[in-house]
Amino acid sequence: MNARLRPWRALAVVLTASGLALGAAAAAAAPGQPSARSGGHAARAVTAPAASTCDPKASSLRPAGPPQVTPGSFMAKIRARGYLVAGVDQSTYHFGFLNPLNGQIEGFDIDMIRAVATAIFGDASSAHLHLKAISDEQRKPDVMSGTVDIVAHTMTISCDRLKYLDFSSVYFDAHQRVLVLKNSKATSLDDLRGQKVCATTASDSVARIAAAKAIPVPVTYWTDCLVLLQQGDVAAISTDDAILDGLAAQDPWTKLIGPPIADEPYGLAISKQHPEFVRFVNAVLQQLRTNGQWAASYRHWIGTPVAPIPQAHYAG
């Protein structure tokens, strides 16, 4: 069994090594500096419906130094149990997907969660890390019920979700955009008024599709959307560019169009009952930001140029 796990461990070594070399370059990208990805739309797009005090990008808890498994903490409980249970995606190319070539779930999200498991157990073998593939719809209930300890699933930190869940600091900056077939004349979501646009059930993209007067078509997985687009059942898919890039990579006859519709800062979701675990995970993410692993992961899964590392802002 262990022999099967070697590939990813080898990958982790490579990532760490290359990360060390390139860490300086990644860290040099100053926070808040405008980039091709985040553009100038962030301010317009962030919507805090209820509380004006809610800032999704600065809502997490400050880590108490480097990650440490303190006695009596949730991390100690996980260590005693023997494994960490993570809810992940299995169909989003480059973030969390079941690789048909080796039968393993891999991606950028998975690298983040492996780092958390490594911080608890010293390694992230399948004995210590149980990856549970869940749908978008299951993310919130699974974290709240404790079915999973943590969710790494291209999950946007939103004020609405913050009422029920805690999130880590932002580990990826995504932006909602639109994917259409290459021969489509549409240039933005506004051109798709009255047409069918696909998104997953319980994703925050559905509401924005409806707001743009297009007809949302909800499905279970993002790849289901690409099936519908290829079969001509929907005119477009609208969600985070991170996910759309993964879909476009599977079909060269598609293109991303229009300006970013909304900011989608990704965080790892954790139950509100374990604030010490939130601080612990933030400490792990901080290590990834500074030791070059984040940039290495980005380069491996998403490519170059590597985007500026999203900097952590804490509420308290």
Binding site: Y83, Q90, S91, N99, I105, A127, A133
Partner: protein, 452 residues
């Protein structure tokens, strides 16, 4: 008719009495030759009436029995085969998908064979439904039922032949994407599976239900009692009339035996015995075909299909990698349906071998799920592909499909025997009635000649 006379009041009940009196007075007042002519006309009429009634009865049973063999049985067999082949294709496609880009050659061949078989059966069934000639010989109410079922079945078949290419297209895309290492492949396979389960299988199941009902009703028509009872009573009545006629002749002509009437009586007796005998034999065969053949075969087929669907669920759960758990929930549902236990599909087959094999498979499946839930996905996939779960399912599947085929063979043989029992019966009845008419004319003409 008689009941309406019975319930009505005085004046109406006297009508038959009046008519009898009229007959009597005419007969008593007439000369002997006139009486003989009257008797001859009556006997010819009765003989012909018997011939028509007996031939009608024979024809009804013969055509119903022929329909069982020629149309209903092949159609319900086609429908069952379409259903089984499609379920097997889906289970095989899912299992081959699990193997990744390099799917086993045996799986690919099995999938192709299933699709080909389903396509051939769809075409064969369409041809059968299209041949309206096969249905036109059916008697009244059965014909109506057949045409109503025929159009619905025709719609289902059109849907099947239209959607089958869409299904294979999606499986093909899933395979190509899977081979490239794209997660999109799994989405196409889910889509294909949903198309098969949501559209193709319900259509096949609808055909099967309708054709089974038609088979049962054609079989009931072939084995039904009312018309044959009327025919036998009429035959006995005719025999009595012939007997009284010869008694009357021997009184009036002082000859002991009238050979013409004897011939008529013998022809009547032969036709009556033939009709009753053919009916008893044919009914016995058709009932045997139903009880020992199509009934158990249906039970085995239902169990086989449920097992195949559960097997597809097993693979799809692994492909979906726990996802929504929908496939595992479906597996548990099918497991309950399949049994063994009172009222389950396996209990209906009465096969204790299948029951123990099913339980062995459930145990292997549980071990596989436990492995997968503990994070050992590759181990679970191996179990589903070549391990314990794969082997125990293959054993169960073989038992069920062999049981089904054995009983289908019993049905085919018995139903053919049943149909053959009615061969030539209708023609025989008409010939017999013509012999009777000839006998009566011959016998009475000789007596009439004596008065010229």
């Amino acid at each position: 008719m008689t009941t309406s006379v019975d319930v009505s009041s005085g004046p109406v009940t006297t009508a038959p009495v009046v008519r009898r009196a009229w007959w009597r007075s005419r007969l008593e007042g007439a000369t002997t030759p006139a009486r003989l002519r009257l008797l001859l006309a009556l006997l010819i009429l009765l003989s012909l009436a018997w011939g028509v009634l007996a031939a009608l009865t024979a024809n009804q049973h013969a055509s119903a029995a022929a329909d069982v063999v020629a149309v209903s049985e092949p159609l319900s067999l086609d429908a069952e085969q379409i259903y089984t082949s499609l379920s097997d294709a889906n289970a095989t496609a899912a299992s081959a998908f699990l193997a990744g880009g390099l799917e086993p050659a045996a799986d690919r061949q099995r999938y192709q064979a299933d699709i080909t078989k389903a396509a051939i059966r769809i075409e064969a069934a369409s041809a059968l439904v299209g041949s309206s000639a096969a249905r036109t010989e059916l008697p009244g109410h059965l014909k109506n039922q057949a045409s109503a079922a025929g159009s619905a079945v025709g719609d289902d078949l059109a849907m099947l032949s239209g959607q089958l290419p869409a299904y294979t297209d999606e499986v093909g895309t899933a395979r190509a994407d899977n081979r490239l290492g794209l997660p999109l492949g799994a989405a196409y396979l889910r889509e294909a599976s949903a198309l098969l389960r949501g559209t193709l299988l319900p259509a096949a199941s609808d055909i099967y239900t309708r054709e089974s009902a038609l088979l049962t009703s054609a079989s009931a028509q072939a084995t039904g009692l009312p018309l044959i009872v009327i025919a036998v009573v009429a035959g006995l009545g005719l025999g009595y009339v012939l007997y009284r006629s010869s008694r009357w002749l021997s009184r009036h002509t002082h000859r002991v035996v009238n050979y013409g009437l004897l011939l008529a009586a013998l022809a009547g007796l032969v036709s009556l015995v033939w009709l009753a005998g053919a009916f008893v034999a044919g009914r016995g065969d058709l009932l045997h075909a139903q009880q020992q053949g199509s009934g158990p075969a249906q039970a085995f087929a239902r169990a086989e299909v449920a097992a195949l669907q559960a097997h597809a669920d097993e693979s799809l759960t692994l492909i979906d990698n726990t996802g929504d758990d929908d496939y595992q929930k479906d597996y548990v549902k099918l497991q309950k349906l399949l049994g063994p236990g009172p009222g389950t599909l396996l209990a209906a087959t009465g096969s204790s071998q299948a029951a123990s094999q099913a339980q062995a498979w459930y145990r292997a499946h549980q071990a596989l799920r436990a492995q997968d839930d503990a994070g050992n996905h590759p181990g679970a996939v191996a179990a589903a592909q070549t391990g314990d779960a794969a082997r125990s399912f293959a054993r169960l599947s073989t038992t069920l499909s062999e049981g089904k085929e054995t009983h289908q063979a019993v049905f085919a043989a018995s139903a053919r025997n049943g149909r053959d029992a009615f061969t030539g019966l209708a023609v025989g009845m008409i010939v017999a009635s013509l012999v009777m008419v000839t006998g009566c004319i011959w016998g009475l003409n000789r007596r009439l000649a004596e008065y010229r």
